[in-house]
C-alpha cells in the first residue's frame, strides 16, 4: 500500500485538552447581577374590574386546557358566560398586543370557555374553605348579590339571598335583552351558584325591619339592590298614560307582556338601557328613533351596541332634548329642543345647552323614557359618613356593634355600573367580611391592599386565599417590557354574528359561538404578559447551561453555582416573567 510509505516520525501535537470536568469552574462567582423567575401582572388583569387572571386563562386556553381555564375565570368571577357577552371588556383596551397589532379578543374567549363548560356540563371543582359560624343575608339577587353569595360560600359562610321578584338575576334577567344574553346562560350560571350552597329565596321583599333592633339571625347584611326606578325627565306630559319606562319595557318583554309595536317609537336617552330599548322595540316592528341630548361619541352606551343598533335600522337624533310631551289622537307629540355644544371638545362628555329657540315637533306612536335610573328606596344607598363606616373601592362597609354589619354594594356604590364591577363589589364585600370576622375592622383595608391586582382597585380571590397567584409581583408588564421578536403578526379573530337582516326575526343571540380551534388560535395570540408559559428560551440561551428543567412545579430553576449573571435569559424571555437584580455582595445568611 502506498499509504504505508508515509513517514512515521510525525511532529507531536500540542493542543489544550482536559479530561477534568469544567464543573470545577464555578462561574457563578463572577456574578454581580442575579436573574430570577418572577411572574408579574398582566395589564388586562389589572384592567378587569373583577381581576380575572386573563394572561393565565389565555395560556391554559391555548394549551387546550379549557376546564382549567374556565375554573381560573370562575375563581374570580362566577359569571364568565354573562360577562363574555355583556361586559364592555376594558381588559382589551389595555391589552399590550394592541401596540403590536390588535388586542386579544378576551371577551370572546371568556364566553367560549363558559359555553364549553356548559356544553360539556363541566363541574366546578373549586374547594370551599372550612365552615364558619357566621351567616350573611344578601338583599337582591343581581350580579353583586349573587357574587357576594358565591364568594361568601366559598369562604365557608352560609349566605342567604332574598329577592323581591319571582326569579333571581336582577338586571341580568330583567334588563338585558335576550339577543345579548340568552336566558339559558344566565340560568346555568345562577344554578352553579345555587349548587355551591347559596340559598336564593325569591319573592321575598326585605325592609329595614329585617335587621333592626338586634333580632336578626344574620351577622351581616349585603345590600345589592341596584337601580330599579327610572329617573324622570322632569318635563310636562311625561306621566301621560302610555309613556313607557325603558327599563320596565325590557322587563315586560321578559315577562312576555309585549306584543307588536306599530308605527314609530321614540326612545329618549343615550345609555345602554336606551339602546337596548330601541333595539328591542325595533324587533317588535317599530321604526325607532333614538333621541339623545349630546352627540353619538358622548353616549354612555357601549359603542359597539350603538353601532349594531344603527345597523339594525335605529335612527339616532343627536343634540335633541324633549321639552314637552302631548297626547294627540292616541299618539304623542314630542317637542324637541335643539342643543349645541359649548366649550372645547374634550375627552369627556360634551357640555351642551339649548340652541336659541330652535325647536321641532315629532309625532310618534310609542314613547320610551330611558335617561337614567336610581334606587327605588333611599335606604338602599349608604348613608353619609358615619362612625364605623369604611368606604372601599367597590363597596361600603358599615360596622355596628349591636346590629349586623351592613355592606352596600353593586350599582348603588359603583362609579361605573357594569356587571364586572358588580362582581367586584360582591367579591370585595365577601373578603372584607371575612377579614372583619377574623381580624377586626382595622385589618380590612391593609389585608385588602395585599390582594390587589396591580395597584387595584380590582382584587384577587386567588391571592386572598394564598393561591399561586399570590406570588406574583404586582408590577404591571408594559409593552416595552416584552421581547416581541418572538411573536408573529396575527390579526384579531372576527366574531361571527347574525346578519342585520336576520336579527329582526327574533331575539336570537347575535354573537354566534366560536369553535375550539378558533379559540385556541386567538388564545395563542396572547402574550401572557409577565407569565411563564415554559417556552424555554431561558434554558436555550443560557451560555452556562445553568437553567435546568426539573420536577419543580414552576418548571425551571437557575443553578447559581454557574449562573454568571449575564442576563440573557431575562432579555430573551418574551413575556417578562424574569427579572435581573443586583447581587447582594455580602452573604447575610
Amino acid at each position: 500500500m502506498a499509504a504505508q510509505q508515509t513517514p512515521t516520525n510525525r511532529t507531536p501535537l500540542l493542543i489544550p485538552c482536559s479530561y477534568l470536568t469544567t464543573e470545577g469552574n464555578k462561574t457563578g462567582s463572577w456574578r454581580f447581577l442575579r436573574p430570577r423567575y418572577e411572574e408579574k401582572t398582566s395589564p388586562c388583569s389589572a384592567a378587569c374590574p373583577a381581576g380575572e387572571d386573563i394572561g393565565r386563562v389565555e395560556m391554559l386556553t391555548a394549551q387546550g386546557s379549557f376546564k382549567e381555564a374556565w375554573e381560573t375565570v370562575m375563581m374570580e368571577n362566577p359569571f364568565p358566560g354573562v360577562c363574555g357577552r355583556v361586559c364592555y371588556h376594558p381588559c382589551e383596551q389595555q391589552c399590550n398586543r394592541k401596540e403590536f397589532d390588535e388586542p386579544v379578543a378576551i371577551h370572546s374567549l371568556e364566553r367560549f370557555l363558559a359555553d364549553t363548560a356548559s356544553r360539556y356540563e363541566l363541574q366546578l371543582s373549586l374547594q370551599k374553605l372550612e365552615s364558619k359560624k357566621q351567616k350573611i343575608a344578601i338583599v337582591g339577587s343581581g350580579p353583586s348579590g349573587l357574587a357576594a353569595g358565591y364568594f361568601l360560600t366559598l369562604l365557608g359562610y352560609q349566605a342567604d339571598i332574598f329577592e323581591a321578584l319571582p326569579e333571581p338575576g336582577g338586571v341580568l334577567r330583567w334588563g338585558i335583552p335576550l339577543y345579548r344574553l340568552p336566558l339559558s346562560i344566565l340560568n346555568r350560571e345562577i344554578a352553579q351558584i345555587r349548587e355551591l350552597g347559596v340559598q336564593i329565596h325569591c319573592g321575598k321583599s326585605i325592609s329595614q325591619e329585617f335587621w333592626r333592633g338586634g333580632k336578626s339571625e344574620y351577622d351581616a347584611i349585603f345590600l345589592g339592590c341596584g337601580h330599579s326606578r327610572s329617573v324622570p325627565l322632569k318635563i310636562s306630559g311625561e306621566d301621560l298614560a302610555g309613556v313607557k319606562d325603558g327599563l320596565q319595557f325590557l322587563a315586560d318583554i321578559r315577562r312576555g307582556e309585549v306584543s307588536a309595536l306599530d308605527g314609530t317609537a321614540a326612545v329618549i336617552g343615550g345609555g345602554n338601557t336606551a339602546v337596548d330599548t330601541a333595539r328591542s322595540a325595533a324587533r317588535f316592528g317599530a321604526k325607532v328613533i333614538l333621541i339623545y341630548r349630546r352627540r353619538r361619541q358622548d353616549m354612555p352606551a357601549f359603542a359597539e351596541e350603538v353601532e349594531m343598533a344603527l345597523e339594525e335600522g335605529v335612527e339616532l337624533w343627536e343634540l335633541q332634548t324633549p321639552v314637552n310631551i302631548a297626547a294627540q289622537d292616541g299618539d304623542f307629540v314630542v317637542t324637541l329642543q335643539h342643543m349645541h355644544v359649548i366649550g372645547k371638545d374634550g375627552q369627556r362628555k360634551a357640555r351642551v345647552k339649548p340652541d336659541s329657540n330652535k325647536k321641532k315637533k315629532i309625532r310618534v306612536q310609542h314613547l320610551f323614557k330611558a335617561v337614567g335610573t336610581e334606587a327605588s328606596e333611599t335606604w338602599y344607598e349608604p348613608p353619609k359618613k358615619t362612625r364605623g363606616m369604611l368606604r372601599l373601592s367597590n363597596c361600603v362597609l358599615l360596622h355596628k356593634s349591636r346590629e349586623p354589619t351592613l355592606v352596600y354594594g353593586g350599582d348603588l356604590v359603583a362609579d361605573i355600573k357594569s356587571v364586572a364591577h358588580a362582581v367586584a363589589s360582591g367579591k370585595q364585600a365577601a373578603i372584607a367580611l371575612d377579614i372583619l370576622f377574623h381580624e377586626g375592622l382595622d385589618a380590612v383595608r391593609p389585608r385588602l391592599q395585599s390582594c390587589l391586582v396591580a395597584e387595584g382597585p380590582s382584587i384577587s380571590w386567588e391571592t386572598y386565599i394564598g393561591g399561586p397567584r399570590s406570588l406574583r409581583n404586582q408590577r404591571v408588564v408594559r409593552y416595552s417590557d416584552l421581547n416581541t421578536d418572538y411573536f408573529q403578526f396575527a390579526p384579531m379573530m372576527i366574531q361571527p354574528r347574525l346578519l342585520p337582516e336576520e336579527r329582526f326575526q327574533s331575539f336570537a343571540e347575535i354573537n354566534l359561538k366560536i369553535g375550539a380551534s378558533l379559540a385556541i388560535r386567538e388564545a395563542e395570540r396572547c402574550f401572557n404578559c409577565g407569565l411563564c408559559n415554559q417556552c424555554d428560551n431561558c434554558q436555550l440561551f443560557c451560555p452556562e447551561i445553568a437553567v435546568t428543567r426539573d420536577n419543580n412545579p414552576r418548571g425551571r430553576h437557575i443553578n447559581y453555582d454557574y449562573c454568571k449573571g449575564c442576563g440573557l435569559c431575562v432579555v430573551e424571555c418574551p413575556r417578562n416573567a424574569m427579572i435581573l437584580e443586583e447581587e447582594l455582595l455580602c452573604d447575610t445568611s
Partner: protein
C-alpha cells in the same frame, strides 16, 4: 477517465472521491457550483456525507469545526466576502488543529461589488495558519483537493485550495477523474489523532496561559514545516498511483534564464505561452509558478532563482500601503540571500481584468530594459479615469 469538467466540478469530484463525511457551506458566486454538485451527491446517495445547511459562512466553518472535532473528514467552499466572514474561525480551525479542507474561489473584495478573479481575499488570510495552494487548471484543482485531505490529516492543519474565479471555476477543460480505488489507496479513511468521544469525555481548546501558549503556536509552525516536507513525499506517492506531479513550485526554463517571471494561478498558463514565444526570439526568460504559498517554499525559491539577474513578480492582488503580496513574499525569501537578483513587482488583472499575453510581454520588456526597480510595484495597464465623485 477524462471528462470535460468545469473547474468548480473538478473540486466536487475530488471531494466525492475523498469520501468527505461532513460538508457545510453557504452559497456565494463564484463558488456555488462546487457545493451545488456536492449537495446533489449527498441527496442522491452518491456521497455518503452529511450536508449541513447554515445561515452564513461563519456558521459553515463553525459547524465543520464541531464536526472535525468529532473526528470526521470535512469540507467547505467559499469565496471573497464569505471567506472574510469566516476570518475568526479560520484562526480557530488551525489553532484547534483540525484538518478541514476548503475550496476557495479567488474573487475580488467589495466595495465596489466585483465577482471576478482577484487573489486578495485569500492572501489577506495568509496569517491564519492555513496551508494555501493556488491552482493553475482543472486537473491541478482536482488533484490538489484530493491531496489536501491527505496533507491536512497528516499535519493536523486546515488546507485551503484556491482557484481563480471564472477563469478556472467556470471554465470547462478535459480533466482526468481517477477511479475510486486509486484514490482510496492514496487517501485511506481519516484516523484522527484526537476526537470528541462520549466514552471518554474531555474538553479541547480551553485556557492556554502564557506558560504554554507560545509552545502551542510554535507547534503549529512545526506542523507548517512538516507540511512542506510531507507535501513532497505525498506528491511522490500520488505520482506513483495516479501518474501526475504538480510540485510546490514549478520552474519552466529557469536554468539559464536572465529574467524569471513569477506567477500563481491561471496567469501561469498565459505566461507559459509568452515564455515559449520569447524563447523562440532568443530571449533568456524563465517562468516560476508558485503553487504552495503557505508554508512558503523559501529554499526552493532561493535555489531556483539563483541563475537569474532579474525577477518579475506578477500579482493579481494587492496589500494597500505596501505592494503585491507574492512580490513581498519573494523579496522576504531572498533578502537574506547575498547577491540575490532585484525583484520587480507588477500588479495586474485586479477584479478580473484580463492579463493577456501582451500584458505579460510588456512586463518582461519593462523588467529587461530597466536598470533597477523604480518602486515596490508597478500597476500595469491603469486607465485614465474621471474622478467624478468627491471632487469639490
Amino acid at each position: 477517465m477524462r471528462h470535460v469538467l468545469e473547474g468548480s466540478h473538478a473540486v466536487s469530484e475530488a471531494v466525492r472521491l475523498a469520501r468527505a463525511q461532513v460538508i457545510s457551506a453557504y452559497p456565494i458566486t463564484p463558488q456555488t457550483h462546487i457545493v451545488e454538485q456536492l449537495s446533489e451527491y449527498c441527496a442522491n446517495g452518491t456521497l455518503n456525507a452529511r450536508f449541513l445547511r447554515v445561515e452564513s459562512e461563519h456558521s459553515a466553518l463553525a459547524a465543520l469545526i464541531g464536526a472535525a472535532s468529532s473526528g470526521v473528514r470535512t469540507f467547505t467552499a467559499t469565496s471573497s466576502q464569505g471567506l472574510a466572514l469566516m476570518h475568526e474561525l479560520l484562526h480557530w480551525a488551525s489553532g484547534a488543529r483540525l484538518p478541514i479542507v476548503m475550496a476557495q474561489v479567488n474573487r475580488a473584495m467589495a466595495p465596489g461589488w466585483n465577482i471576478w478573479a482577484d487573489q486578495t481575499d485569500s492572501l489577506a488570510q495568509r496569517d491564519t495558519g492555513w496551508v494555501q495552494f493556488y491552482c493553475e487548471n482543472g486537473q491541478e484543482v482536482l488533484d490538489t483537493t484530493i491531496q489536501a485531505f491527505r496533507l491536512a490529516e497528516w499535519v493536523n492543519l486546515p488546507v485551503m485550495v484556491n482557484l481563480d474565479a471564472f477563469f478556472l471555476s467556470h471554465t470547462y477543460e478535459p480533466v482526468d477523474v481517477p477511479d475510486q480505488k486509486s484514490v482510496d489507496s492514496f487517501l485511506p479513511p481519516y484516523k484522527p489523532r484526537f476526537q470528541l468521544d462520549l466514552a471518554n469525555p474531555c474538553a479541547f481548546n480551553q485556557l492556554a496561559p502564557p506558560n504554554i501558549y507560545m509552545e502551542m503556536r510554535h507547534n503549529i509552525q512545526m506542523a507548517m514545516d512538516e507540511a512542506f516536507t510531507f507535501f513532497e513525499q505525498m506528491e511522490e506517492e500520488f505520482g506513483t498511483i495516479l501518474g501526475r506531479r504538480h510540485g510546490a513550485v514549478e520552474a519552466i526554463r529557469c536554468d539559464d534564464a536572465e529574467v524569471i517571471l513569477i506567477t500563481s494561478g491561471t496567469v501561469t498558463s498565459t505566461s507559459r505561452q509568452v515564455v515559449a514565444k520569447l524563447r523562440e526570439k532568443g530571449e533568456k526568460v524563465g517562468l516560476l509558478k508558485i503553487k504552495l504559498f503557505r508554508p512558503f517554499p523559501l529554499n526552493l525559491l532561493r535555489e531556483l532563482t539563483k541563475p537569474a539577474s532579474k525577477i518579475a513578480v506578477i500579482d493579481r492582488n494587492f496589500s494597500f500601503g505596501a505592494s503585491g503580496i507574492f512580490a513581498q513574499e519573494v523579496k522576504a525569501a531572498l533578502c537574506n540571500f547575498p547577491g540575490h537578483p532585484p525583484v520587480y513587482g507588477y500588479v495586474a488583472g485586479l477584479g478580473g481584468r484580463d492579463i493577456t499575453t501582451e500584458v505579460i510581454e510588456d512586463i518582461y520588456w519593462l523588467t529587461k530594459n530597466s536598470t533597477a526597480p523604480e518602486n515596490e510595484s508597478s500597476w500595469v495597464g491603469l486607465r485614465e479615469v474621471d474622478h467624478a465623485v468627491g471632487q469639490s
